[in-house]
Symmetry: C2
C-alpha cells in the first residue's frame, strides 16, 4: 500500500457488501466441505493423542477392573459361610481356611466373595481374627467392569481427547487411536511496506506482526500453521503465493489487501482463482473481510489493521477451523457487568468493543478501551469484549451488559481498578506488586483527574489518581474532594510530588523559554485531553499569563498520556507539549520545569481495608518504589501511602 | 499392593488427618519457595513464546505506528491551507502542489498534516480534485505511537503470552523475551500389580493409566512432564526413584501408595527424605493425599483410585504448578443448574460429585453420576463437577447448585438428555448423529424405565427410553404412560423390538434351560436394579412360574446395565443373568430367549419440535440405524421414529 496511488476510481472496488455476521458465516460454512482432508486421519498412540480429535467412536477392549477386586484393605471371606454373624454372635476365623488378608485392588477369587474392611476386623494372632458384623455377598468387592465394561463406548467420534480420556482409554485396553488430521492453515503476509520483526525500521515501514498472531491463534484452536514469506503488493506474485498455499494446506489466510483500495488485490485474485462468497460483513472492526473458496478450500482475506485482523480471525477463521474437526464453536466465559459510561454504536454494524473490567463495590464495572481498529494495546489490555449488536444504538451508563472474558474471572476479581490521571509510576507499582508474588493486578484507565473523581462518585474504581490545582489557593487535590465529593466518605492516599514542565526536543531548536512561547505563530503545540490535571495546569498558566488559547496552534490536538505527548515531540509532529519530567527522560528529550504538583489517590473510606488496596499502599511505602522513582527522575516522596482526611 | 498382606497392625499408618482443603493448600504453598528454579529462566524469540510466562515486564522499544500514517485511503493536504473550505466554498486542488493520493498506512510527512477520505474527494482529472468539507489538523492521521509508545509497558512480569500479545510485542520492536522455565514435574508410578498399557493382561494386574493422565494434565497446566518407569512396592526401590526424580525435576508426584495400608510407603519415605506437611485431607474422593517437601521441592503422594487421583491433581498439583509461575488458580466456567434428585453427602468431607447436565425446558438440570472413586467413566462422562462443602449435608431435589463445567457450555446446550432404561443402541444413535456432522450430543443416564418416567414428570430429560410390561394386558409401555403420566401431554416415539433372555456362559456349563433353574441352590444369578424394565420382566416371570425370589441366589446383587450383567457372566462371578441378545453377542456368550419387548421413548409433546429431538427421530428412521442394529443382532424394527399417542 506504500507505492504510488493514482486515485483512479475504476481501480477501486468500492462495492463491499454489508452482510450480517451470522448470515455470512452460515453461508460460507454451508459451501465448505472438508471430506477429503478429513478422511485421511492418522493412527496415534493413545499417550500422544491429547488434543487430537477422534475419527471414530472408541469402544473398550477389556474391562476395568479386569477381575473382581477388593475395594478395601481388609480380609476376604465366603459370604455364605458368615450367615448369622452379628454383634451378639461374633465369629473367629482362621487364616487360609476361612479368610485371607487383602489390600485394595487384590484379586477376590473362589471361594471368597466378600471383603470385610480392616477397621472391622479384630486381630487375635497372626493367623486368627474375629468379626462381629454381618457380611453380604460381594460386599466391598469391585466387580469386573465396574468402571469400564469391554465393548462399552469410552469416547465418541469427533471428541477432542483430554487427559482424563487418556486414563479411561488406557484402562479400557486402547493403546492406539484413529484421529483426524489437524487443519493445516497457510498464512500469506502481503504488503510492500512490511518488514520482518527485528529488521531495521524506517519511516513508511510496518512490522508484520499480524501473521505471527495468526500462527498463535491457529495453534490455539488446534491447527498447524504455515507462515509464508511476505509478498509485496504485486498481483501476480500474490497469485502464485495463493496457488502454492492452497496446494499445501487445508485453508489459506491472506493478510492485508482485503479492502477496496487500489492495491487491495485479494478479492480480484480469489475471483480469478475460485469464488468470492462474501466481501464485506457488518462488523466493526473487521468489515472488509473476503470469504472465498479456491480448489474447494477456504481462502480468507483478512484486513491489515491488527484489531480488525483479530476479530476477523475469531469470527470467521475460528469457526471454519472448528468445523474442519467437527468441534463446537465456543465463546468462552461471560460475565455481567455494569457500564461505567454511555457507549454509542453505529446501527449498521455489530461492534466488538474492548473493555476493562473490575469488581468494585460487589459488582463488575466495565469501561470501554480505545475503539480504533489500529490499537493493538486495546486487545492486550482488554479484560473482556462487549458485542454491541447491529441495530442497537448503544447502551447507557449503568446498564448491565455481558462481556466475553479475555482473562480468567479470578484475575479480574484480583484487580485493583484505578481510573484517573496518568503517570508512568502506575506501571512501576504494578510491577512491584507482581515481583512480590502478590496475585493482584493493577488496571489503570487514563481519563484525567476529574474523570477519576467522577469514577469514584459512581463507584467504578477503587482508587482515582489525581493532581488538581486549586487556582484560588494554589494547593492540590484536597479542595477538589470537598467540592466534588462532599457527599462521599472519601480520603486521600498520599502519592508523590512530581515535576511538570514543557517537553521539548533535545537542544531546544525553537528556543522555547516559557509559557509565553506557546502563542508564537510558528510553534506547534500538543495538548492533553480535557479533564486531565495537566490541562487544568496549562489553562491556569495561560490564564495567569493572560494568553489566548485560540492563539496556541495545536491547542485542540489532544493526547491521553504523558508518554504520547513526549512521543509527539520526539517525532517532530509538534515543537512542545506539557508533561512530567519522567516522560521526557524516558524519551531522552529536554525539559523546562514549570512546577511541582501533588499526585495523590482518592479512595472511598470503606475500600481502605480491601486487601488489594492494602497491597497498593504497602508498595507506595516500600523502598523498592522509592528506588524505582529515583531511576525515573522527577519525583519527590513525602510520606507516600499516608492517609489524609479532606 | 498385590503381595502377601500379613495384616500386622503396627505396619499400618492408621493416623491420617482430615485437614480442610483450603487450609492444607495454604499451609503447603506457604512452605514452598521456587526462587532458585524461577531465577533461571531463558531467553526465547517472541514468535516461540506463546504459552510461556514472562519473567520481567516488557516495555516497547519502538513506537507503533513508527511514523505519522494515513488512517484512510484518500488524499493528504495541509490543514492550515484548507481553512475556509465548506459546502458553499469548495476548493480545487492540484496534485503534487496541494495534495497527494495516499492509501491507509502511507506516510504523512511535511508539509502535509491531514487526510481527506477518498469518499469525500471529487476527482476532476488525473491531477485535479476538489473537496467541499472542512479539514482539521491531523484529521485521519494516526500519530506516531497511537497504538504503542516506545517505553510503554506492553505486558507485565508473570504474564502468560497469548497470540494477541505476540502481535503487540513484535509491533513494539520486541523480538526476544525473558521467560520463566516451565515447571518440570517428575511422575513415579508405583505398584507391583501395575502393567504398562498394551502389555498382556492377567488377573491381578492393573494397567497404569493414572500417570499418563498426569502427564496430560501437567502439559495442560503449562509444565513439562517426565514419567519414570514403574516401581514395584519396595521401600528401597521407591526411595531411589524419589531421590532421582527430585534431583531431575522441580516437583515430584508419586502415584499410589499414599494411604495407610501395609505397603503404602509414600508417607514414610517422604518423612525419611524430607518433611510431610499434610497427610489426609477432608475431600472425597482423594482423602489419602500426602503433601511433602524433599530438598525444598514439593513431593506429592497421590492415591491410586483414578477419580481420587484426578481430584488430588486438580486440588493440589495444579495450584503448586501455577504458583511456580505466579499464575492465578482458575476453576473455569460455572453454571447454575437444578438438581434432579436429592444428593446427600458426608459432613466430614468436601465432596466432588461428577454430574450430567442438560438444558431441558429452559433450565439446566443436573444429575449425579456414579460417586465411586474407581469409576473413571464418571469423569469422562461428566458435564460438570458439583462441590458439596464440608459440613453441608447435601441438597434437595429441585435446589439450585453451581457446577464447574467439564465441557463447553455450548456443548451442553446442544445435548439431548435421555434418562431411563439402558440399551446399547443409544451409543449407536449418538455415533450416527455425530457421523452426520450434527453437533448434537446424546447424554444417556441409566436409571431404569420407571426412573425415566419420573424424570419426564419432573422435567429432567427430553426423552425417556422405557420397556415396561403390563402384566395384566401383556402389552408394553402405553398403559404405563396412562398410569403414571396422565397429567402430562406425552407421546411415545416408537423405538425397537428387542429380544430379552437369559445370558449364560458359552456352552451352557450349568445346563440352564429356563426360569425355573434360577432357584437351583448352586446357580449364582446376577440381577438388574430396581425400577429397570428388565427387573420388572424377571419378577413377572418368577411370579408366573410361582418361584420365590428368596430362593434365587444373587437376587439382591444389582447391575445397572445389560453390559455389566453380560460382563459378570463372562467373568464367572455368576452363572446366569437376564438381558438383551445384543449384550450377549458383544461378549460372545450364549443366550436363551425369553421373549420380545418394545423399547420406546417417552417425550413431552411440547418437546417434539426441539431440533435435538428432531435429529434423534431422523436417526431412528435412517437406513444407517437399521444397519447398525442388524450388526448387533437381537432387534426388530417396526416403524421406528413413529409418534404414538397414549
Amino acid at each position: 500500500m506504500n507505492t504510488e496511488n493514482t486515485g483512479k476510481k475504476d481501480e477501486r472496488n468500492l462495492y463491499l457488501k454489508n452482510e450480517d455476521l451470522d448470515v455470512a458465516v452460515a453461508k460460507y460454512l454451508a459451501l465448505l466441505s472438508f471430506t477429503e482432508a478429513q478422511e485421511k486421519g492418522r493412527l496415534l498412540p493413545v499417550i500422544e493423542a491429547q488434543g487430537w480429535v477422534t475419527k471414530e467412536p472408541v469402544f473398550a477392549k477389556i474391562s476395568s477392573p479386569y477381575y473382581n477386586a477388593s475395594a478395601m484393605d481388609g480380609i476376604c471371606v465366603e459370604a455364605m459361610a458368615m450367615i448369622g454373624v452379628d454383634e451378639r454372635h461374633p465369629r473367629t476365623l482362621t487364616k487360609g481356611t476361612d479368610f485371607n488378608f487383602v489390600d485394595t485392588g487384590d484379586v477376590i477369587a473362589d471361594p471368597y466373595n466378600a471383603v470385610v474392611m480392616i477397621e472391622d476386623v479384630m486381630i487375635k494372632s497372626d493367623d486368627e481374627i474375629s468379626i462381629n458384623n454381618p457380611v453380604s455377598l460381594w460386599q466391598n468387592v469391585r466387580p469386573i467392569g465396574e468402571d469400564i465394561v469391554a465393548g462399552e463406548l469410552i469416547i465418541p467420534a469427533y471428541h477432542q481427547v483430554r487427559p482424563i480420556d487418556l486414563g479411561a482409554l488406557l484402562a479400557g485396553g486402547i493403546t492406539e487411536l484413529e484421529v483426524m488430521d489437524k487443519p493445516r492453515v497457510g498464512i500469506i503476509p502481503t504488503g510492500t511496506e512490511l518488514v520482518e520483526a527485528g529488521a531495521a525500521m524506517a519511516v513508511g515501514k510496518i512490522i508484520d506482526s499480524n501473521t505471527h498472531m495468526f500462527v498463535g491463534l491457529v495453534q490455539e484452536y488446534g491447527g498447524v500453521a504455515k507462515r509464508y514469506q511476505t509478498v509485496r503488493d504485486d498481483y501476480e506474485l500474490i497469485k502464485s503465493a495463493i496457488i502454492k498455499a492452497v496446494d499445501e494446506n487445508d485453508m489459506v489466510l491472506i493478510s492485508a489487501g482485503s479492502s477496496a483500495g487500489t492495491e487491495d488485490y485479494t478479492r480480484k485474485l480469489i475471483e480469478e482463482l475460485g469464488e468470492v462468497v462474501v466481501h464485506g460483513v457488518a462488523i466493526k472492526p473487521g468489515k472488509p473481510v473476503v470469504l472465498g473458496i479456491v480448489q474447494g478450500k477456504p481462502v480468507i482475506g483478512i484486513p491489515g489493521y491488527p484489531v480488525s485482523a483479530y476479530f476477523v480471525f475469531e469470527s470467521f477463521v475460528k469457526p471454519v477451523m472448528l468445523a474442519f474437526n467437527h468441534q463446537t464453536f465456543t465463546e468462552g466465559v461471560t460475565i455481567k457487568a455494569v457500564l461505567s459510561k454511555r457507549l454509542m454504536s453505529s446501527l449498521k454494524y455489530l461492534e466488538f468493543v474492548r473493555m476493562k473490567c473490575g469488581r468494585v463495590n460487589q459488582r463488575f464495572v466495565a469501561t470501554p478501551l480505545d475503539r480504533g481498529a489500529g490499537v493493538t494495546m486495546s486487545l492486550v489490555n482488554a479484560d473482556g469484549i462487549l458485542k454491541i449488536p447491529k441495530n442497537v444504538e448503544g447502551y447507557e451508563a449503568g446498564e448491565e451488559v455481558e462481556l466475553i472474558l479475555m482473562r480468567p474471572r479470578e484475575e479480574i476479581e484480583n484487580t485493583l481498578v484505578s481510573i484517573g490521571s496518568h503517570d508512568v509510576l502506575m506501571d512501576m507499582v504494578a510491577n512491584i506488586i507482581h515481583k512480590n508474588k502478590q496475585l493482584v493486578n493493577l488496571s489503570s484507565a487514563h481519563v484525567g483527574s476529574l474523570g477519576g473523581i467522577m469514577a469514584i462518585k459512581k463507584g467504578e474504581c477503587h482508587i482515582a489518581p489525581i493532581h488538581l490545582l486549586d487556582e484560588e489557593t494554589g494547593t492540590y487535590n484536597l479542595t477538589y474532594l470537598k467540592r466534588y465529593l462532599a457527599d462521599e466518605a472519601v480520603v486521600l492516599i498520599k502519592g508523590v510530588k512530581r515535576t511538570q514542565g514543557m517537553i521539548i526536543p533535545k537542544g531546544n531548536p525553537q528556543n522555547i523559554q516559557g509559557i509565553a512561547d506557546l502563542v508564537r505563530p510558528e510553534i506547534r503545540f500538543v495538548n492533553r485531553q480535557r479533564g486531565s490535571g495537566t490541562r487544568v495546569l496549562l489553562d491556569y498558566l495561560l490564564k495567569t499569563a493572560q494568553l489566548d488559547t485560540n492563539q496556541v496552534l495545536g491547542y485542540s490536538r489532544e493526547m491521553n498520556t504523558h508518554m504520547m505527548v513526549a512521543s509527539a515531540v520526539k517525532s517532530g509532529s509538534c515543537d512542545v507539549g506539557i508533561g512530567v519530567l519522567s516522560a521526557a527522560n524516558m524519551m531522552a528529550l529536554d525539559f523546562i520545569p514549570i512546577g511541582e504538583e501533588a499526585y495523590d489517590f482518592v479512595i472511598l473510606k470503606e475500600n481502605l481495608d480491601d486487601p488489594r488496596v492494602q497491597i497498593f499502599i504497602q508498595v507506595l511505602k516500600s523502598q523498592e518504589f522509592k528506588e524505582a522513582l529515583k531511576r525515573l527522575g522527577g519525583y519527590e516522596l513525602e510520606q507516600p501511602g499516608e492517609i489524609v482526611e479532606p
